[in-house]
Symmetry: C2
Subunit: 537 residues, 2 copies
């Protein structure tokens, strides 16, 4: 027997019950909260005319674009295996690559009409090192518009993302931040790097990746990454992108510059500050914080005047801003922000990020903004890989567990069931049909109910009901059967009473939370009990 | 470059956009119908106190029990690959094996209390030859009770399955058929095969597999499979189970015997026919079809009197029948039926099958019952694989696409959206913000709406709206803008009119389905239009 199989067995010769690393089971509370969240997002996406699409977990590796450069084997970042014809298959690592495959197929067979708005929700897999909160399987929720060249499509996606946040009860707690890859390319042009040259492409990506870290690193560290390289505290060295110091400064200054102004209240409504300006609370200083999007766009236009691509980028953002303005999305909801970079190579135009702005403590106990819960952008080249034709596309992807963590932190998750089921105790096995019928009557009235199915005694059954978070238990012993009544014991009231009464014996004897009612009143009594505790049915 | 990679590329050097065989994309209509169906089932399962659980797609191959006998590589029926430590991983092929792993883990860490009722819905993967309607990825919906030894748990699962069918509008169109593996084992005991001997186990499984085909094969063919073997029309030979002819006859007679009686109306209510009997329509003959479950159980008890395990099986079914009777589930909903065998080796007690009884045409044009849409049973040994301790368990699994096909055949699917979104046409690109606002106003009123995002002219935009199944389009040209009105063109009325009026020119000129209203009346007018066509919002 080989080592491989030995490893998989415990000493007993039996397999060990365990999950591969980076994978996890999800329990009922989180599933319910997640499903409620996904349903809310879905409702918004449907209102915008997006249609659901499901693609399978497995795709041809080449269709996902996941072969290692100049090699015949797949990227190690994806889970891959060969089919019976020795073609490589992989588990999807996002929902965008399968969409591109679907669109290319649909255009070829002429079964797909454009523009095409679709949403998709489902698991994706990454064969990467797992860490705290980083799993090898996680859920994404994407909305994409394919076949629309106009940045009206990008503007719509940002509105969609903003509406989804509002639907989840996050009004005032989020900003959709928007930039344009063309502006970044314009900046590179100005420092002498050709964004279209293959030679410069590696350098370009290294620069974008470095700039993307501006919110996490000090600007001095970013300068090192952009120029000669940086050695971190552990001694690891990251190679620099090879820019000159002045080039790096120009980039850092542009991207990192605050586009907020602090002005006295009487200047906050002057002609330069238009209706989209976000007048935030006075910060003790007596000054208002003002974000003037048009002033920012004007300034960028000046700085990028020598770069055609850069100017195009500014113009696109201007058009998008007009759409938001007209649909009444102020800059506190959707805001143009030069610091949005997004690492992915395939973006070609506007890029977006949904940031939650409320504060939480991080692992080190520092107070920080919650941060990004999703992002996206325009990627006009992805379908081209298959067809040779450019097919414009833009989309937004929600990081589902990150967003759920935010809702949980804010106590905004809506659990479908605030109580567990009513538990019907089994006092006598010979009377099972009777107890089963009680449970059935409750269910038919729309009340979650179960008969105890184990073989334990009364005390253990009560413990079970507690663990199930049951609002009450139904008890019927021989005497009650003879009298045609059932006892209904209120576990919520009981718990409250137990907490407030010191003398447990006294409480037990008074049994304040237990009533005896005729069998026919079972449903009515349980319903009243649920209503009393705000549970409804 | 190797053959592998060449295969994956088209002549152009670009990858070909295609899906691996046996996999498919699912479009919006089917997704909506499926989600509505799953939500209905979920609601029933929740009422019974079942809790959702999600496990990942990937498990250790040994935890799934999928190593080939005496080999170190996984069964070819599962998709497998090795992790960085060279341990084998597989995609789950059902939802039961991951449940067993979860329970074994939970019991070891004492984080799981029993009894435990859980439901799970999600994709599973089979590396098997695909065929028409047979895919390599498909969805299962399982409900299982772990830790309940009592057959009350099995009885409850059958009630749950019946309630799910009713919830889907299938009342009168289904039967949950129930048998007990112990009765089959009792029969084997009587013909001289020890159900507990490892030596006889292969023979036992061969017999069960053969008997499972009684509904598809002629009984003469089953006799061959049970005895000397059978050569099919294509010349392929299937080895026989090696029984003697008399042994085979006894089994076929027991399993295949009809438990229905045809009696004159006046005998249908005699003392032998108890309250659970299902009195079906007179079949022309003047006779009533009667199913007498107690008579059937009495007869089986007689026949199995020499087999302790067989008698235990009958006794368990009797207890279950009492529970159904008391909860008012008649034999047309849940029926004991000796012909239910179920192929899976791991069943140890009651086995169930949900059969849809309405008739459809099969591929050969014959009228047949729709057949099985799910099944399950008791499997007390599955967790034992890990822990060495027997943990009783029983469950039911719905074949989701099969059930959806049934609902589709009966026209019982409830699509969330009967219309597509309202489409706002773009008459002038300079006015995009205006058109976007119209769409936004509709959405805020809860009406699905989208602005046209392509770059085509009026005619192509109308075609797009048709393809989107839009109830109406919103049109606003220069004149309308000047007047502050919008045109609303009713596409449903328009299509009706076009179908009934021969002279298309006349219809076009009369424009019966187009109204001009002030901008402020946009929402009101669209709402009225939707209400007129039964769409609501």
């Amino acid at each position: 027997m080989s080592k491989t199989k030995d490893q998989a067995k415990s000493k007993s010769g039996r397999p060990e019950a365990r999950l591969p690393k980076g994978l996890r089971d999800i329990a009922s509370g989180e599933i319910r909260a997640m499903n409620a969240m996904l349903a809310a997002i879905r409702e918004v996406y449907e209102t915008y005319g997006f249609e659901p699409l499901e693609t399978p977990a497995i795709e041809y590796t080449d269709a996902l674009g996941k072969f290692l450069p100049d090699q015949d084997r797949p990227n190690e970042g994806v889970f891959s295996f060969q089919d019976e014809d020795e073609q490589w298959l992989s588990l999807r690592y996002d929902l965008t690559a399968p969409l591109a495959r679907h669109v290319a197929e649909g255009l070829k067979s002429q079964s797909l009409g454009l523009p095409f708005r679709r949403y998709a929700v489902g698991p994706v897999w990454r064969n990467e090192k797992p860490g705290p909160g980083r799993f090898r399987q996680f859920i994404q929720f994407d909305a994409d518009t394919v076949g629309a060249e106009s940045v009206a499509a990008d503007a719509e996606i940002c509105m969609l993302a903003a509406d989804a946040m509002e639907k989840l009860g996050l009004a005032g707690k989020y900003t959709i931040k928007v930039n344009n890859r063309k502006i970044l390319d314009g900046l590179l042009q100005i420092v002498g790097i050709d964004p279209n040259s293959n030679e410069d492409n590696k350098k370009r990506l290294a620069i974008l990746r470095s700039l993307d870290k501006l919110d996490k690193f000090k600007s001095e560290d970013i300068r090192l990454l952009l120029t000669t390289g940086r050695r971190d505290e552990s001694g690891d060295f990251t190679e620099g992108a090879g820019l000159l110091s002045e080039q790096a400064d120009l980039l850092i200054d542009f991207i990192g510059r605050s586009t907020e102004l602090w002005v006295p209240p009487d200047q906050a409504v002057d002609s330069r500050v238009r209706i989209d300006a976000d007048l935030r609370d006075i910060d003790g200083s007596g000054l208002l914080c003002v974000y003037d999007v048009y002033a920012a766009l004007d300034a960028w236009e000046q700085e990028l005047r020598d770069s055609p691509i850069g100017l195009q980028g500014v113009q696109e953002l201007r058009s998008m801003q007009e759409l938001w303005h007209s649909a009444d999305y102020g800059t506190s909801r959707i805001r143009i922000d030069a610091s949005v970079v997004r690492g992915l190579e395939y973006y070609t135009g506007p890029v977006f990020e949904a940031e939650l702005t409320f504060e939480v403590k991080n692992e080190d106990g520092q107070t920080v903004r919650f941060g990004s819960v999703g992002g996206g952008g325009r990627y006009d080249g992805l379908v081209e890989r298959f067809t040779g034709q450019k097919v414009p596309a833009t989309g937004f992807s929600v990081g589902v567990s990150r967003l759920l963590a935010a809702l949980t932190a804010l106590n905004r998750t809506s659990e479908a069931a605030s109580f567990g089921p009513v538990v019907v105790l089994v006092m006598d096995k010979a009377e099972l049909p009777r107890f089963q019928r009680h449970a059935q009557v409750l269910r038919q009235a729309g009340i979650r109910a179960e008969m105890y199915l184990g073989s334990a005694g009364m005390k253990a059954q009560m413990k079970y009901a507690d663990r199930r978070n049951a609002p009450c238990v139904v008890i019927q012993g021989g005497n009650e059967i003879a009298e045609g009544v059932v006892q209904i014991k209120d576990l919520i009231e009981g718990a409250k009473a137990a907490a407030s009464i010191k003398d447990n014996k006294e409480w037990k004897e008074s049994r304040p939370a237990q009533v005896s009612v005729p069998e026919a009143d079972l449903v009515k009594t349980v319903r009243e009990l649920l209503a009393r505790h705000g549970g409804g049915v």
